[in-house]
Symmetry: C2
Subunit: 217 residues, 2 copies
């Protein structure tokens, strides 16, 4: 309805300002900050005000980048899922074609991550396990949008572990895959209570090996 008709080139959206490397776009800073705070303190415990100010901006700028807090949470979950698969692929990558060794590498990396701090300067002393799984505790049951994200994610883990079990020629690949998943999820869950690798996590590699052996006769 305005005087000037259609924009000149709708395909070439969003140029302007390459966003200096040391100070990224507001939106990216907010998402980064949110990922840290949500993971450390939980979703409900962190308000948009706190995220915005921690990101060096304010609430109004927040709502210019995200329609609602739920949308930010959705991106947080997607982001954490991406990080997870990146980790997964990097761990199993060197042992392509050797599913048994891949499983071992995954388990070894799990206990390694339990020991390591999240970020060097971060105030979080130890890992708090699975971001998506923890989020599931706080997601209301009528929120299908967020619930589905977690469900699909956990289902993908299940699928991949079953696939690995199948590739290594297990007698009951579904059972082995699920059993391995229980070990991994259990190690994430207990990490909330036992700091570092002082918990049952340390048993995961031996347990996984025993399970694999049992399923290969």
């Amino acid at each position: 309805m305005s005087v000037k008709a259609a924009p000149p080139d709708s395909a070439k959206v969003s140029r302007l300002a390459p966003a200096t490397a040391d100070r990224p776009r507001v939106r990216d800073r907010i998402l980064d900050t949110a990922c840290e705070l949500f993971y450390r303190h939980g979703i409900r415990a962190v308000g948009v005000d706190a995220i915005a100010s921690e990101a060096g901006t304010n609430k109004m700028s927040f709502y210019r980048s995200f329609p609602s807090k739920d949308d930010l949470v959705a991106e947080y979950l997607a982001d954490q899922e991406g990080e997870y698969w990146k980790w997964w692929d990097e761990v199993i990558g060197p042992y392509a074609g050797n599913p048994r060794r891949q499983v071992e590498a995954l388990m070894e990396s799990v206990v390694d991550l339990a020991r390591r701090k999240i970020k060097e300067a971060s105030g979080c002393k130890t890992s708090r396990g699975c971001a998506l799984g923890n989020a599931c505790v706080e997601i209301p049951e009528d929120n299908q949008r967020l619930g589905d994200i977690v469900h699909k994610y956990k289902n993908e883990i299940r699928k991949r572990l079953r696939k690995l079990a199948r590739e290594m020629g297990a007698k009951e690949p579904e059972v082995l895959g699920d059993a391995l998943m229980l070990l991994m999820e259990g190690s994430y869950y207990t990490r909330l209570t036992f700091p570092g690798n002082t918990g049952p996590v340390t048993a995961i590699t031996k347990a996984a090996r025993a399970l694999v052996d049992a399923h290969l006769t």
Copy 2:
């Protein structure tokens, strides 16, 4: 300083009103309601107003029974822990002296509970796993009081499983106990995502048996 001196008998506190069986004391109703709501929706998602009105009373009566919400949460956690040990002892009771059968019974009961609904008339379709573990996601890291409750609880689980492993003559009882704990905790955790027993929980009995066998040579 008042006219009347010391109370007549401070030991015989709190008589009055046996609290009819169909309508218990306000305090008990509140605690019961809080246990349901906290477990179903999480701790942060449920306000004291909602608990009070759901229990058929109001917020003022709530604060006459509990000094703060945190105190209610502490009682909620203690209550759930009590329920858990009751379940535990009932499950392993019939197989006293047979630690191997006791572990099997525990695992079987875990998948059985995953299928069963929490309460018949309850709106909660399926179990949401470990109350204490889920609470740990929502407890702020500086709240030692609540954090310690969960930590001691999980530590007790660990001790009991290691003890069972020792009693059955496992080669590495600590490793076997921790491995069994990972299976159990993993089944609690995944129950948040997979309704009923559609998740990896179904593999827990076979997995536990394989682990036990492996540790008995």
